[in-house]
């Protein structure tokens, strides 16, 4: 990930007493994956037939900072699009996670119980949060594509 490389670079530089340009803005480097769908509340969805894998985006984890706890739903719980199904806790902030699709939870990433930092280290792969069996696949049409989501993040950052 671009941002963790940057962090490493600045940290290494500080140990090595090299001066780095302080104007680097880490947040501009968040990555977005082409084949995923995105919600405006910063979750991603990977669709495979009627199953959907859900996590939070690189942009979201970057803004949250070090994730220290993930509250997961139970397998079998039902989800509706736009409603909260869990929470991500960072050192200072609590953020609800909203389901980008409706359906039933068929899997949760238990590894997050012991390693919540996977959300930071690998937001699109090992940091996935739940798998849902979708009840209405058409709902994914309401979500953003990667280009639209990148633009959405830029606009949101500019506002703040």
């Amino acid at each position: 990930m671009a941002c963790s490389r940057l962090m490493w670079a600045t940290r290494a530089a500080s140990y090595l007493r090299i001066s780095v340009p302080f104007t680097l803005r880490v947040r501009g480097f968040s990555s977005v994956l082409k084949d995923l769908k995105y919600a405006d509340s910063h979750e991603w969805v990977k669709v495979d037939g009627i199953s959907a894998t859900i996590g939070i985006t690189d942009h979201a984890q970057d803004h949250l900072g070090d994730v220290v706890y993930v509250e997961l739903p139970e397998v079998g719980a039902s989800m509706s699009q736009g409603s909260s199904f869990g929470a991500v806790e960072s050192v200072k902030a609590t953020s609800d996670i909203y389901s980008p699709v409706s359906g039933k939870v068929i899997g949760v990433n238990e590894e997050l119980n012991s390693s919540p930092g996977l959300i930071n280290a690998s937001p699109y792969e090992n940091g996935w949060i739940i798998k849902v069996e979708m009840s209405d696949k058409d709902e994914t049409n309401k979500l953003m594509g990667s280009d639209q989501y990148s633009k959405f993040c830029e606009e949101e950052d500019a506002k703040h």
Partner: protein
């Protein structure tokens, strides 16, 4: 994730209820235009500072280091904080000590010249108006720093009492140090780094002490104090010299002392068991309930003579109804307003600050419980989003403090 990090600034003072989000967002935007800026504002932005509204000021909540890394670096190396939003104040005049003693719980008269202490401004009911670090510069000069968020009410309170005091012939006046900026330099490298910038010997200058001296060639007020639990200083510097001083400190530390924002400052003070006014201490909370009985001078316990003394002295005698305590807990980190229950599920209090400790790698919190449930080792439940998690009452500070005291 709605809100996401944008809540961070808000969560410093209060966790938002879901339902309030729209209102808060509006307030946030309307307030942003009028936010005050410290003289270091552009320096923060140029260094990657993420600026958020805090007590009417635009302040850096973090820079490009994460809050976790910043917190750890403060304890390992050092941190430089811009705390110019806080309000420095001098009280002068031959009666400034008897005047101040009417408003605070400290034995100000008993302080040696150049010595200071944490104190509390109380109201008639014994509740806390604010907490403040006060210093007796000399018998006719007191220097103090009050919280940014309490500035207006504190100044109004002091002014009202000052008018009455002067009307009776008392000699006291004030000067608000708006011409100065305040930097907090904290951590094990604070003293060696600052020593490069002054000729005065800092090895004989101890925790709580105050001195006026030249730093980086400029006349500064230096207090050996802080809000992290580490050794360190607060440096009041003329505003036109603040930027040069900040740069000199960072340079002399060879990059090891890092600019640090309010996010890590909150983690650090929580680990050190220190109160955040507005969260852990409020108008209705007495210093005894807040665990600051040690700050009530011996003479003051005997004589009273400060606002709310009757309530406070009575609590000293018969014990307070509630007490501030620390907790370790499992599950998600507790936040302010999480309910505290006894092991049978009965409500006994509320969390006032909480989070994940970057140094201890576990949840820490402080809050108020009924007396009787306050002893270290008492098992409790902490309710977060409807679920009860195990917690235990714990002594504070959570991380040992390293104040520089004579050995």
């Amino acid at each position: 994730m709605r809100g996401g990090l944008w809540q961070l600034g808000q969560s410093m003072t209060r966790r938002l209820a879901q339902a309030d989000k729209k209102t808060v967002a509006r307030r946030y935007f309307s307030a942003e235009a009028e936010l005050k800026k410290t003289v270091l504002y552009d320096f923060h932005v140029a260094n990657g500072g993420k600026m958020v509204p805090f007590a009417g000021w635009g302040m850096p909540i973090q820079y490009k280091d994460s809050i976790m890394d910043s917190t750890l670096n403060c304890r390992q190396n050092g941190s430089l904080f811009d705390v110019s939003h806080m309000c420095g104040l001098s009280l002068k005049g031959k009666d400034c000590i008897p005047f101040l003693e009417k408003l605070v719980i400290a034995d100000v008269a008993g302080l040696a010249p150049g010595a200071g202490t944490l104190t509390v401004f109380t109201n008639e009911k014994g509740g806390a108006i604010d907490d403040s670090v006060i210093t007796k510069v000399k018998d006719d000069h007191i220097y103090l720093v009050v919280n940014a968020g309490c500035r207006d009410k504190d100044l109004a309170h002091i002014e009202e009492h000052m008018k009455a005091f002067k009307a009776k012939g008392g000699d006291v006046s004030w000067h608000i140090h708006d011409e100065r900026s305040l930097l907090a330099l904290q951590g094990p490298l604070a003293a060696p780094t600052l020593q490069h910038l002054t000729k005065e010997d800092l090895s004989k200058f101890y925790f709580g002490e105050f001195r006026m001296l030249d730093i980086n060639g400029v006349h500064c007020f230096l207090t050996r104090t802080g809000y992290t639990g580490e050794d360190g200083f607060e440096i009041s510097v003329p505003s036109e010299n603040a930027l040069d001083l900040a740069k000199a400190i960072l340079e002399k530390s060879e990059g090891k002392i890092r600019l640090t924002g309010l996010g890590a400052r909150d983690s650090l003070r929580l680990e050190a068991g220190l109160c955040l006014y507005g969260n852990d201490m409020e108008q209705h909370v007495t210093p005894v309930e807040a665990g600051l009985t040690w700050a009530i001078g011996k003479r003051r316990r005997a004589e009273g003579g400060f606002l709310g003394a009757e309530v406070i002295l009575k609590q000293l005698e018969s014990g307070p109804p509630v007490r501030r305590v620390g907790f370790f807990s499992s599950g998600p980190p507790p936040r302010s307003h999480s309910e505290i229950q006894d092991d049978k599920g009965k409500g006994i209090g509320e969390v006032t600050s909480g989070g994940f400790s970057p140094c201890l790698k576990k949840n820490i919190a402080m809050g108020y419980v009924k007396s009787g449930s306050h002893k270290a080792g008492t098992k409790v439940k902490i309710v977060i989003r409807g679920k009860a998690y195990d917690g235990v009452v714990t002594k504070m500070p959570f991380v040992p403090t390293k104040y520089y005291k004579p050995s």
